[in-house]
Amino acid sequence: MSTARQFKPEEPWQAPEGEPIVRLENVTKRFGAFYAVDDISLNIHAGEFFSLLGPSGCGKTTLLRMLAGFETPTSGRLLIDGQDVTDIPPYERPVNMMFQSYALFPHMNVADNIAFGLKQEGMPKSERQDRVAELMSLVQIEPLAKRKPHQLSGGQRQRVALARSLAKHPKILLLDEPLGALDKKLREQTQFELVNIQERLGITFVVVTHDQEEAMTMSSRIALMHEGRIEQVDPPRRLYEFPSTRYAASFIGSVNLFDGYVTEQNDDQVRVQCDDAGIQLEVRHSQPLVPGMAVTVALRPEKVRVIHQLEADTPNQLRGVIKEIAYLGDVSIYHVELASGKRVQFTQSNVQALAEQPLTWDEEVVLSWSANSCGVLTE
């Protein structure tokens, strides 16, 4: 089993000449006056494990349903493998979908559910049986062939749904909250299995999820959606480390945000005056910024180092008092109140079972981080 994936060797989205397998051109979907999807353009490449991430109502499911063909865009074009499918009905598209509710046919047994799509395309019976057996072995449900859906557990149903949607060798598999109905433990285990299957079959997966952890674990790239628009499309690490908007920064993980304005920029460094912090913060940033421009400095809690005294010639040091501690087992979260009253969060791994000098309430501390560990948000 592989852990969070490394896409270094092949990052197809980096190659501009490659034809994407899914191409959305200015796609808009309106329900009455409500813009569920608002002018989205997006490319997804063959072999990707692509996630649409966002809170409920952000338009991610509508986008997925347009890919499947259940919704028609109000405007814009939709291409799959170079073919314009904007007006092609779902039953003629080379994509399949795994539904959030699984949508297993209750009157058919497991084998018949999986064989359904194959029957529709007129595959001969013997071939069909082989394919069904192959799929059941892929998702490890061989003994369940004759059961009806209501006789299966949630996890088993999920596997049947997956097998059924994979049966026809779709070019793209659409998954709507594939793990949403499973309990936490099963979900984590299944995440890896999904990735495994995707890698083995080489099918492009497009997943809708509201669970950032799930998206981070499985995806090659994540499109973070917000109110019908895409905030940012990037691989998980980039999305986390270099969010481009306040929304992106705060949706994924925790973040400390300091509002301020640019005072100066040289080479790849900017200085930002932050009133909350009481000092000028130094941030590594390569895009050109104009002095006086309003920006936000974003700082992940785990990037913060705790020291007990101010150090000379070191940027980004803040003095404050620990006000709250949350012990989560592997890490602890601390809330530090600055002189301005602003609270800053940081986390520390609990390396030792019993620390000699644990941080405690009302203790005065100095927080410090390097210019490389934080970012500047312009939106």
Partner: protein
């Protein structure tokens, strides 16, 4: 009823209520019918003989007479009537389903705010008397009725169509009257149908017509069966509609029972006809339950 615990509980009491109801209003009357069916007709009040008779000086004997049932099976008239009723019931049920299914489907798929008004339209005819509705059909179908006058007025036909007093009129009356009994249970089933199942089928390459055949239709079978039973069973014993709209050649059990009961004063034979009808109607139920149970058990 099989008590699962020695101590009677509230649950048992609650279960006992419908059983008691059935016993009092179904089983008991049926036992009366059964008793009369084993008796012989006589000119008296009531017009059948007691099964237990005093012969002389306190000697009592039980006289059970199966000849009524024997007559039912021997005389082709009764089996023909049974066949006639089965035919009318089956054909009417089929047409009720053919007409009622699309109606129920359309209502279930119509916008939310339309459903209640549409359902009300289905139920509305029930607010007028059953007899008035049948008489209205007489007014429509008779030789110089609305339909014939309309068609002749439009110049489509030269002489009135003979619809009244034909089997066609019976079918029209029966289908019209029993249609709501098909539409309502079908609506209840179709409204519960998970529409994502149709999307899933479409996604797997299924065209709309096949989606209906492979998904909607099989999943609405409980509604189809409920609706079919609600039509088939009462039509089997239907008397009023064939009597008013049908012709003399409409041979059905209900009418025959009327003749036996009123014209012949032969309560025992009428009762054995009723018992026969009950057996014919219960048999499909028993078989259905049997198969249902088997298909449940057939799966591991």
């Amino acid at each position: 009823m099989k008590p699962t615990s020695a101590r009677p509980s509230t649950r048992h009491l609650i279960i006992a209520v419908p059983w008691f109801w059935l016993a009092l209003f179904f089983l008991l009357p049926f036992l009366f019918v059964l008793k009369i069916s084993l008796s012989e007709p006589t000119l008296a009040q009531p017009p059948y003989m007691d099964l237990i008779r005093e012969i002389e000086d306190g000697f009592v004997t039980l006289v059970i007479n199966f000849s009524n049932y024997q007559l039912l099976l021997e005389d082709s008239l009764y089996l023909s009537a049974l066949w006639g009723s089965l035919k009318v019931a089956a054909i009417s049920t089929l047409f009720c389903l053919l007409i009622g299914y699309p109606m129920a489907y359309a209502i279930a798929r119509s916008p939310l705010h339309w459903r209640l008004p549409l359902l009300m339209l289905i139920i509305l005819p029930f607010w007028t008397s059953f007899l008035i509705r049948i008489y209205a059909w007489i007014g429509i179908l008779k030789a110089n009725g609305l339909l014939n006058n309309l068609l002749m007025g439009l110049g489509l036909i030269d002489s009135p169509l003979a619809i009244m007093h034909t089997p066609l009129a019976v079918y029209i009356g029966v289908v019209y009257n029993y249609l709501p009994f098909v539409v309502l249970p079908l609506y209840a089933t179709l409204i519960r149908l998970d529409l994502t199942l149709l999307e899933a089928a479409a996604d797997l390459g299924c065209r709309p017509w096949k989606q209906f055949l492979l998904i909607t239709l099989p999943l609405s079978m409980p509604g189809v069966i409920a609706g079919a039973m609600l039509v088939f069973i009462p039509v089997m014993g239907e008397f009023v509609i064939p009597d008013l709209l049908g012709g003399p050649d409409t041979l059905m059990l209900g009418k025959l029972m009327w003749t036996e009961f009123f014209s012949n004063k032969d309560w025992p034979l009428a009762s054995s006809l009723a018992a026969l009808l009950l057996v014919v109607l219960i048999l499909p139920f028993v078989l259905l339950r049997h198969f249902e149970r088997r298909s449940e058990e057939g799966n591991p």
